[in-house]
């Protein structure tokens, strides 16, 4: 699946997007964040407080308990500040 990062999540991770293949045990958005946080220092920093991070699956807002099965594109970002 394609994983996208925006704003300070992107800055902390150090990249805007990447192709990832999480292990089968990772079923939800929350579990994916926990798995990402273990991938290195920058990821640990980006996901140190997962409660403040918002997620979207295939361009729709989802909660941390959303299932990731079948997702083509998952995005992580801080609370929005548009308008």
């Amino acid at each position: 699946m394609k994983v996208l990062y925006f704003a300070w999540v992107r800055e902390r991770v150090g990249k805007a997007e990447e192709q990832l293949d999480p292990p089968p045990g990772i079923a939800t958005v929350g579990e994916l964040m926990a798995w990402l946080a273990q991938r290195g220092e920058q990821y640990a920093y980006a996901f140190e407080n997962p409660k403040v991070i918002r997620a979207a699956i295939d361009r729709s807002h989802v909660r941390a308990d959303a299932k990731i099965a079948g997702a083509a594109e998952i995005a992580f970002f801080p609370p929005m500040t548009g308008g």
């Binding site: 996208l4 925006f6 704003a7 300070w8 992107r10 979207a56 361009r59 729709s60 807002h61 995005a75 970002f77 801080p78 609370p79 929005m80 500040t81 548009g82 308008g83």
Partner: protein, 170 residues
């Protein structure tokens, strides 16, 4: 990216762009050749020279291409379902903006003023809290991401219940 849908007598225009927008031209397009529009409300959000009291030199808006258009279109549809609108225009800029620059334009048209006012306020509250845009400011001390405001979440929550339930709850 630009979406233009003519649906019955309703026109929806949604655009994300780097370029400035021209309020008059957008309103003219919204009402052109129509004599059933009695009320037009516009909201223009502008880059201020301060953020929480601290001077800023510029604002950079990052967005999620593809999702931003979809989210805005979904909220424009929601506005049309809630109020008898004859037209909706939403233009949101991205990239680097300086104080005095326009950031966002919402324009709503209706036969009557209450629908136009309510729909414009609704769309702005949702753009602030649900549209995937992020602001970074340039200050003397460096760059900083703007924090989301609890007041904006509270404003958006006003619209969470459908209008009938909200009336009954008063």
């Amino acid at each position: 990216m630009s979406v233009l849908v003519k649906r019955l007598m309703m026109t929806t225009t949604i655009r994300l762009q780097r370029e400035p927008f021209d309020v008059n031209a957008e309103v003219a397009a919204l009402i052109s050749d129509r004599t059933d529009i009695g009320a037009v409300v516009t909201f223009t959000g502008q880059c201020r020279a301060d953020e929480n009291g601290e001077p800023i030199a510029a604002l950079t808006l990052e967005h999620y291409p593809g999702m931003a258009e979809t989210e805005i279109a979904r909220h424009a549809d929601e506005a049309q379902a809630r109020w008898p609108l004859l037209g909706v225009t939403v233009i949101h800029r991205y990239g680097r903006l300086v104080p005095g620059d326009g950031i966002v334009l919402v324009a709503t048209a209706s036969s009557h003023r209450q629908a136009a006012f309510a729909a414009a306020a609704f769309l702005m509250d949702y753009l602030k809290t649900r549209a995937p845009f992020w602001k970074q400011v340039e200050k003397a001390s460096g760059t900083a991401w703007v924090d989301a405001k609890a007041a904006d979440d509270a404003a958006a929550d006003r619209w969470a219940a459908p209008p009938r339930q909200r009336e009954a709850a008063k």
